[in-house]
């Protein structure tokens, strides 16, 4: 057996172990981001799977787990956005709070707040929700969002402003006293 063939199994095993650790520790964040974007658990799972498989095929490119984590996260979001674009013709999204409760809102929240956050997101249109999630929760720049959504900067701003107005109304009860 040549040197190349001998090296491969250990390299593949190391990569497999790295992927396994990341799935255990970070997949919740990838999944949560995709779920917030799509509002659909199956689509979010598909998006993460696509990203993982792409990452596996390009595994030699990543220097460390942090880089791989960032890359999978970003590709999973892109896959979720692609899925949203493909399904654009379907009826407006109706996010079932009971089916995603807790997962969508994040850990450590009171169940009532988690439920209200889910309901608040459900009141947004697809575009409003995606813009809000990418801007506020994923920290994308407006230009990036507009480019990714094939939209204008103005449309993205307007969608964001509408989203925040709706969220303010929906989350009125949770406003901290000023």
């Amino acid at each position: 057996m040549n040197l190349f063939a001998r090296l491969l199994p250990s390299a593949a095993a190391t990569a497999a172990a790295r992927f396994e650790r990341l799935i255990s520790q970070r997949s919740g964040r990838w999944y949560q981001a995709c779920l917030r974007i799509t509002g659909d658990a199956n689509w979010a799972e598909d998006a993460v799977q696509d990203a993982l498989l792409k990452a596996w095929h390009g595994r030699e490119r990543f220097r460390g787990e942090s880089e791989l984590d960032t890359w999978v996260h970003r590709i999973a979001i892109n896959a979720a956005l692609d899925r949203m674009r493909r399904e654009r013709l379907r009826s407006p999204l109706a996010l079932a709070a009971e089916s995603v409760e807790g997962e969508l809102a994040g850990a450590g929240l009171a169940p009532a707040l988690a439920s209200d956050l889910n309901l608040a997101l459900a009141q947004l249109t697809d575009l409003e929700r995606v813009c809000f999630v990418l801007k506020h929760l994923e920290q994308w720049r407006l230009e990036e969002i507009a480019e990714q959504l094939d939209s204008s900067l103005g449309s993205v701003k307007q969608a964001l402003f509408r989203a925040l107005r709706k969220l303010r109304d929906a989350l009125q009860a949770w406003r901290s006293p000023t």
């Binding site: 593949a12 799972e45 969220l167 303010r168 901290s176």
Partner: protein, 235 residues
């Protein structure tokens, strides 16, 4: 007078010019009513959990991703295992064909011309001809397999893994023989095959890629045919 749109822009618009942002901030700092309105807009943003607080993905989803990755790992391992074997087969085939070509040349030479040696180009031609015939067969075989695209995902991945292994073998053989053009074309096929392997089973883009690949394989087959028959004639 500062309106709500401007306050929202301050919160959300990262493309807001610096001087406008500064003016807004100064106005807010000087006006308690503006500060109250801004705080009211910030409230829904503060409600969301911090970036690093997330629950684990559902166990079923994690299990599904692990299965998908394990399948890819198996396929990678199997195609990697086949690669050196393929090299061995290609090397042996080349040696056998080259020996056969040399024997044939010697047999054709008149016995009185013992000092004459077969021209060195004959060996190269024999090897090149064998390689091109091998590639032509591989192209035809892959096209036939793509035409009968299997229904199950496992069979699809096996088919692609086998095609990838063969493709790598032929590309490496072409490069070893100095046929850089053929090696380059085969490496381009490798990228397409890898993208098909990474694509989801029901991805409509993958079907279009398969069709395009099949067309390109056919074009390459046609391009190789006259060369192959010419080499056969020379042999």
């Amino acid at each position: 007078m500062i309106n709500d749109e401007q306050l929202l822009a301050l919160l959300l618009d990262d493309s807001l010019p610096a001087d406008q942002r500064r003016q807004l901030e100064q106005a807010i700092a000087a006006d308690p009513e503006l500060r109250r309105r801004l705080t009211a807009w910030q409230a829904p943003l503060r409600t969301w959990p911090a970036d690093d607080s997330f629950e684990p993905a559902p166990a079923a989803a994690q299990a599904r991703w692990r299965r998908a990755l394990a399948r890819e790992q198996r396929l990678t391992a199997s195609s990697d295992r086949r690669w050196p074997q393929g090299w061995l087969v290609a090397g042996l085939a080349t040696i056998v064909l080259a020996t056969f070509a040399l024997s044939l040349e010697r047999w054709r030479l008149p016995p009185t011309g013992a000092a004459q040696q077969p021209p060195p180009v004959a060996q190269d031609s024999a090897e090149t001809g064998a390689l091109q015939r091998g590639v032509a067969l591989y192209l035809a075989d892959t096209r036939a397999r793509l035409a009968q695209w299997p229904g199950s995902a496992d069979q699809q991945h096996d088919l692609l893994a086998q095609s990838l292994a063969q493709n790598r073998m032929h590309a490496a053989a072409a490069a070893a023989q100095g046929d850089q053009e053929l090696a380059r074309v085969l490496r381009a096929f490798e990228l397409t095959l890898e993208s098909l392997q990474a694509a989801r089973d029901n991805d409509p883009a993958a079907a279009a890629t398969r069709q395009r690949l099949s067309f390109e394989l056919g074009a390459m087959q046609t391009k190789l045919s006259p060369a192959a028959s010419k080499q056969t004639h020379t042999l």
